[in-house]
Assembly symmetry: C2
Homo-oligomer: 324 residues x 2
Amino acid sequence: MTDKPIRRIGIIGTGVIGASWTSLFLAKGLQVVATDVAPNAETALRKFVEKAWPALERLGLSPGASQSNLKFTPALAQAVAGVDLVQENGPERIDFKKKLYGQLDELLPPDVIVASSSSGLTMSEIQSGAASHPERCVIAHPFNPPHLIPLVEIVGGAKTSEATIQRAAEFYTSIGQRTVQLNKEVPGHVANRLQAALAREVYHLVADGIVSAADVDTALCWGPGLRWGIMGNMMINHLGGGPGGIEHFFQQFTGPMTAWWKVLGSPVLTPEVQKKLIDSVHAEVGSRTIEELEAERDEILLGLLELRTKRPQTAAPRPLAAAE
Amino acid sequence: MTDKPIRRIGIIGTGVIGASWTSLFLAKGLQVVATDVAPNAETALRKFVEKAWPALERLGLSPGASQSNLKFTPALAQAVAGVDLVQENGPERIDFKKKLYGQLDELLPPDVIVASSSSGLTMSEIQSGAASHPERCVIAHPFNPPHLIPLVEIVGGAKTSEATIQRAAEFYTSIGQRTVQLNKEVPGHVANRLQAALAREVYHLVADGIVSAADVDTALCWGPGLRWGIMGNMMINHLGGGPGGIEHFFQQFTGPMTAWWKVLGSPVLTPEVQKKLIDSVHAEVGSRTIEELEAERDEILLGLLELRTKRPQTAAPRPLAAAE
């Protein structure tokens, strides 16, 4: 591998995820070359970045950050020429990805990382398309939208090198993202599994008529959810044990926790169940538009991110450690 | 029932939950009479309230709020004389509660609400001890600690009157808490079930060696958790569907969601699994003390609550609606 700083990013696919990555990288002072075959892709991308910019300004731009550092080309080879890292956000079809990784394998020198935003495919499958240099391919899965939510889940495939994983983790960390490393490839990585686990019980409680959508949302966002944007479950358990910490927590709560697990629901999302959930959401939403609700969500999210980061300590990309 | 304002609260049991309720009620300008049979209960209670007070000041005291509005007596009959509502936080033993509710049934006029903080027992069981007036007994389950976390889960037993449920909901809402109403008695009410559903997958991922405690915590609190303190799951799904809202969300995500449900884990909390979880938490915690971590958690929590409530609109107890 290499200690070469990562300064120029190739973005493949400029849908919602690719456009959000683009906004983030630009805000961190990086050069971005984006490509997408969709008609009007460039216009839509530049519009997305422009709309995202005020939030990024509020969170703190890095030196040199500018929307003018964005180039767009419909040609893949042109987009990835001279980049240090590719962030790939293509369609979630294994045949498509394998072919794309074959092309990238031929186009790119071996010290360029190819990072996939894939949530549904494994890197072991994807990198089988890259005959020469599968070791530089890695999953770097964002939590949408990455320009606002800092999580990046990093996991290699069978042929990914440890150096690639470390270099990717250092890169995303250096621009202020929060990375986690999975030791195994599992469906949904971590965050989507946590969401799915929670949603299952939420749907059960509403589908079973125990509470309305409005009430289950209140229970979450004025109850345990208030802490889940501050600390994770394990740390909260540690504090939930009082002075005895996590040991005391398990002594005290293994019984009730295990009992609750036995009665959690397993809803089946039939059309009827979906209709019940949808109707209850509409009763909760009332006349509020999606735009209004999005604005409310993002305003508080920005405030919470400011609270948690205080000064923008991670604003400037720092040189990669020479440790590799 | 009655339209009588609720101004004077009897607190039975001044452990962590009872002491936190006491602090909240005092901050809302109410009179509190507390009772507990434990030695030193009064000293511990007054110390708790004093320690909680700065946070309550920051969130906004109501007119007349004062720690001097707290009276303590070890005698149950004296504690509940003249109160408008009893908040009961006794031990979670059904024989104890039934006996206690029998005593309260005799001591209290029928227009006094008896609200239980119980998380583990149902009101149908508990109120069977109250021969004359089971209809004024209701579960009002806080999320610990109620002086910081606003959620109150309200659910009646088989004999609880609708008027009691409505009057309780109005009371807790009037002092700024966020209430949800359960249409059925279920183990763990709502919030504990949501926590249990999430924790199950968290423990699975750590126990199975997929991620460390530190990383699963990062994935939650820098990922989906960031939104769960802002909006609930159903509303987030609605916005996750883009312009198509909740309908589009289910069209798009029923497939992956259902697939993830099939692979979520079902850990068994054997001593070995607990040890693995505990060790991983200690690696995450490092040298940070529980006090330091608590202070960090509560500082951000207060900031988030300020963000979400902006002006303290709910600071003054408003007269109960005359609608009943």
